[in-house]
């Protein structure tokens, strides 16, 4: 069974890029274009990892992270903020809201997958054979 990644991202191009990149790495992708649908999707599908944009229409990414963390079964799920906010304090704010990590946009396609997989639980990676 493929490992599931939930991507919450409003920019269609970015969504496409991440989906393309990760499907190529044999992940199952669940897409959500705003915070509200993202939370619902997370609850229903229980993804292995969540990639979260911060600037979202309506509910912003920080709030989404907080809400996801309130769901019992998602307490330990890695949430990675993927954002172009690069002002001082942005990273700290994301971590405070419950994100496990932070990848700055623009992403580097050569390193993005390994950056992300660093947040996956060890046994999951073992199963995928990505860990020696």
């Amino acid at each position: 069974m493929k490992n599931k990644i939930l991507i919450i991202e409003d920019n269609e191009q970015n969504m496409y890029m991440l989906t393309y990149l990760l499907q190529n790495e044999n992940y199952e992708i669940i897409q959500a274009y705003n915070g509200t649908t993202g939370i619902v999707a997370a609850k229903e599908s229980t993804p292995d990892i969540i990639l979260l944009d911060i600037q979202l229409p309506g509910m912003d990414g920080y709030t989404v992270a907080v809400k996801i963390r309130e769901i019992e079964k998602l307490k330990q799920t890695p949430i990675i903020a993927v954002t172009s906010y690069a002002m001082p304090g942005d990273k700290e704010k994301a971590i405070e809201s419950g994100a496990s990590g932070y990848i700055e946009k623009p992403i580097n396609p050569d390193t993005f997958v390994s950056q992300m997989e660093a947040f996956l639980p060890r046994e999951l990676l073992l199963k995928r054979g990505n860990l020696l």
Binding site: Q55, Y85, A86, K105, P109
Partner: protein
């Protein structure tokens, strides 16, 4: 003494208990002994009874036997011969043999043959025999021949008819001797015998024998009752009072008696054996007496023992008390000795007679300089200067009890004269009439008093000549205690008018007046206590009513335990006037400053809001620019990775160019962001300890590929003392990377040399290149933003032109500097200096 009383009581109680116990035991034992004695007496009585009975039976048997002889029945000569022979053979016991016919007439008798023919039918027992025709035993009676006898008659039958009797007269003395008189119990216990008729058959009292006991013992009802008892039973035990057998004239004693009946055909006898009680219990009494003696002795010993124990305890207790008193005494003595010897005040003891010094204490020795031995050879008068010696000698004679000797002069060993006062007390020292004196050296005190007096004068002068008014006011009543002349003149009062009045009379009503109630004064004092000195301005009113401003400095002072406020008043009329002038100017100035400040404030707010706008704009711009860049860089990367399919060389090259441009744009955005952060003061540096050399090496490793591409050699030299520094590793790295990158970028041939060492607590890093260098006129523009020197359409070199500007700002933020030396066409040296 209480103890003795209770001791005697206890002794008596013990004695009585002992006596009671002893008496009980004695009674029980005595009873037992009497019981045993009675048993023995009964045995004796039974033996005697059996003996008598047997004897009489023998006699009766013989009589019966003889009475069957025809010769005796006929009483012929042969018969007479048998009878007389038998009597002769047994004459000891048988006093006579008699043959009596049926009518009671003696037919034959032997040896008193003169009685033959005598009629003896008048005798009771004979009549009984004649009546019953059976064997009859008589009572004891006296014969005509004058001996005591008992007659036994056996009937004689001739041809079946009664024909009188054959009788023996038995010697009763013999019987009594054999069976009764030999009975001896203890010393004087004896036996006696009474017949059925009350005739005493045998008795140790010879006078009683043959007499009627009812007559003999008519005064002894106990004996009469005993006799009556013998009629009722075979044997029994009883007791009676009678004189003992050993002493007939003496007092009556208790006789313990037993009786036993001896029965015959016609009658009976009663054997009584009686023993005096005192003899029965003689052993016991002896034992009792001895026991009593022993017990009394034991009691006495016990009492003495108890007494000694108690006495011993009393002695021990007294000894203990005495020792405790002695200890107290010793302690008291040592206490007083200590009081004397260790007293810090000089003390001495002198003998009244002769005034020789007997003892001095350590303080005396220390104070006067005389050794203890020296002092003991001196007289009291030796301590005084010559002119006082006679006076003190006379003075000591008047002293009684406790006395204050007043002030005198004493001489120390070194000749110094001191002023002293002495107290002395009468005292017995080693049985000598003495006085103990306590000496107070007043010299120092006198000196202080003198100096105080002097100080007082100084103070008084200062007080009076002071140009300011000085008031000394009681802190609690606010009454003026003292003031100087200036104070009087300033306020228009005389000294007398002011003293004793409230300080408030000087103050203008209700303004600067000190609140004249307990709480107000208390608050005032408290305030002064917390401030060393308080200065305030107030308005005073002169006696004539005119007002004038003063400045008062106040402080709290304590004299003789009273709290005072000392106030120094200065007339400030002139100063006030000057101040008022100044104030006018001042107020105008303030107005101007206020206006200007308001203007500046608005300008500042405007500027700040512009800054905020700029920051927000930059943040938004950064984000907005990054979003499309994300697409460009991301997709270029994905395409170049060949995920979507392989690319030909030309496509790869062109995408590479796009990627390069995109990255340049990203760098530009990042640099612009950095600059804006720095300018908006938002740049935050964080200090940490890190290895500077290691950071530098890592940077060199990352730029190595770029250098290799341009065939430029990098020389790195780090001195050994470059170790850990405390700074922001990321920012330092950013600056060094920028400088080294620049050096490689602007160098086409040759080397880039990096030299790092520690000088004077700073890490100094030089980046030396052999590049294009910088013209003198361009030096000033070098650190300005967007100022890559080689501006123009033909830009040979990448970069945003912001690097040096950012680097300089960062290094300044880290308390360091960047400097540059350069010569166009030769090369440049950039020097970074940061503190360790």
């Amino acid at each position: 003494m209480k103890f003795q009383k209770s001791f005697i009581l206890i002794f008596f109680a013990v004695s009585i208990l002992f006596a009671l116990g002893l008496y009980t035991v004695y009674t029980v034992v005595k009873e037992k002994i009497i019981q045993d004695m009675n048993f023995s007496q009964t045995v004796l009585a039974r033996q005697a009874a059996t003996g008598i009975k047997d004897y009489v039976s023998n006699v009766t048997g013989t009589l019966n036997y003889l009475s069957l002889f025809p010769e005796i029945i006929e009483s012929n000569s042969f018969g007479k011969k048998i009878m007389s022979n038998y009597q002769m053979i047994n004459s000891d016991e048988i006093k006579s043999v008699t043959r009596m016919n049926a009518k009671g007439k003696i037919i034959f008798t032997f040896p008193y043959i003169e009685s033959i023919g005598t009629d003896i039918s008048y005798q009771d027992h004979v009549r009984l025999s004649m009546k019953t025709h059976k064997i009859v035993v008589s009572d004891v009676f006296n014969t005509v021949q004058g001996f005591r006898t008992v007659a036994v008659h056996a009937p004689v039958f001739k041809n079946g008819h009664y024909d009188g009797t054959l009788a023996f007269l038995l010697s009763f003395d013999k019987i009594a001797q054999k069976y009764i008189e030999n009975i001896r119990v203890k010393e004087s216990g004896y036996g006696w015998v009474v017949s059925e008729n009350g005739i005493e058959i045998s008795s140790p009292f010879l006078g009683h024998i043959g007499k009627n006991v009812y007559e003999t013992y008519k005064d002894f009802p106990e004996i009469i009752s005993l006799i009556n008892e013998t009629h009722k039973g075979e044997e029994g035990v009883t007791a009676y009072h009678y004189h003992s057998g050993r002493d007939t004239s003496g007092e009556n004693v208790i006789m313990h008696a037993v009786y036993k009946r001896v029965s015959f055909n016609n009658t009976f006898w009663s054997i009584v054996i009686a023993t005096p009680e005192d003899e029965i219990t003689a052993t016991l009494s002896g034992f009792r007496t001895n026991l009593l003696f022993v017990i009394i002795a034991l009691l006495l010993l016990f009492m003495i023992f108890m007494y000694l124990i108690v006495r011993f305890q009393v002695i021990v207790e007294e000894q203990r008390k005495r020792e405790s008193v002695l200890t107290d005494l010793r302690e008291s003595e040592s206490r007083y000795r200590y009081l004397f010897e260790q007293n810090p005040v000089p003390m001495l003891i002198y003998e009244l007679d002769g005034l020789s010094i007997l003892a001095v204490n350590d303080a005396f020795v220390a104070h006067y300089g005389y050794s203890n031995e020296e002092a003991l050879t001196m007289l009291l008068t030796d301590l005084y200067p010559k002119h006082e010696r006679e006076k003190i000698s006379d003075f000591t004679k008047t002293l009684k009890g406790h006395a204050y000797a007043g002030e005198w002069h004493h001489l120390k060993k070194d000749g110094t004269q001191i002023i002293i006062e002495a107290h002395s007390h009468r005292f017995s020292y080693e049985c000598r009439a003495s006085r103990v004196a306590v000496i107070n050296d007043l010299t120092e005190r006198k000196r202080i008093e003198e100096s105080l007096k002097e100080n007082f004068l100084k103070f008084k002068t200062l007080f009076e000549i002071n140009p300011d008014a000085i008031f000394i006011t009681d802190a609690n009543t606010l009454e003026i205690y003292d003031c100087n002349q200036v104070a009087c003149v300033m306020n228009g009062y005389s000294h007398e008018e002011l003293i004793g009045r409230s300080i408030n009379i000087l103050h203008l009503e209700q303004t600067t007046k000190i609140v004249d109630d307990a709480e107000g004064r208390h608050q005032f004092i408290e305030y002064l206590q917390h401030h060393n000195s308080v200065t305030q301005e107030s308005i005073h009113r002169r006696k004539d009513g005119t007002l004038f401003p003063i400045e008062t400095s106040m402080c709290l002072l304590t004299l003789d335990g009273r709290q005072f406020v000392m106030g120094i008043d200065r007339d400030i009329t002139e100063r006030k006037r000057a101040e008022d002038e100044l104030k006018k100017y001042h107020e105008h100035l303030e107005e101007m400053v206020y206006d200007r400040t308001a203007e500046l404030k608005i300008a500042k707010e405007r500027a700040e809001s512009a800054d905020r706008l700029k920051s927000a704009f930059l943040a938004t711009m950064s984000h907005e620019l990054r979003t499309p860049l994300n697409s460009i860089i991301g997709f270029t990367g994905i395409l170049m990775k060949g995920i979507a399919g392989p690319l030909n060389d030309e496509q790869q090259k062109q995408l590479g160019m796009a990627k390069g441009s995109a990255h340049h744009l990203l760098d530009l955005i990042n640099d612009v962001l950095d600059i804006s952060k720095i300018e908006a003061g938002q740049l935050v540096v964080s200090f940490n300890t890190f290895d500077y050399g290691k950071t530098l090496k890592n940077i060199v490793v990352t730029v190595q590929p770029l250098a290799e591409k341009k065939e430029i050699k990098i020389q790195l030299g780090i001195s050994n003392d470059v170790i850990e520094i405390n700074s922001d590793e990321r920012r330092i790295g950013q600056v060094l990377l920028n400088l080294i990158n620049n050096a490689i970028k602007f160098t086409d041939h040759g080397t880039v040399k990096i030299d790092c060492q520690v000088i004077d607590g700073n890490v100094i890093t030089k980046v030396i290149d052999t590049g294009i260098g910088i013209k003198n006129e361009d030096m000033s523009k070098l650190f300005k933003p967007f100022s890559q020197i080689d501006t123009g359409l033909t830009r040979n070199h990448d970069g945003t032109g912001l690097g040096l500007s950012i680097s300089q700002k960062l290094i300044e933020k880290l308390n360091g500097t960047i400097t540059v030396e350069s010569e166009a066409g030769i090369g440049s040296i950039f020097t970074v200096t940061v503190p360790l």
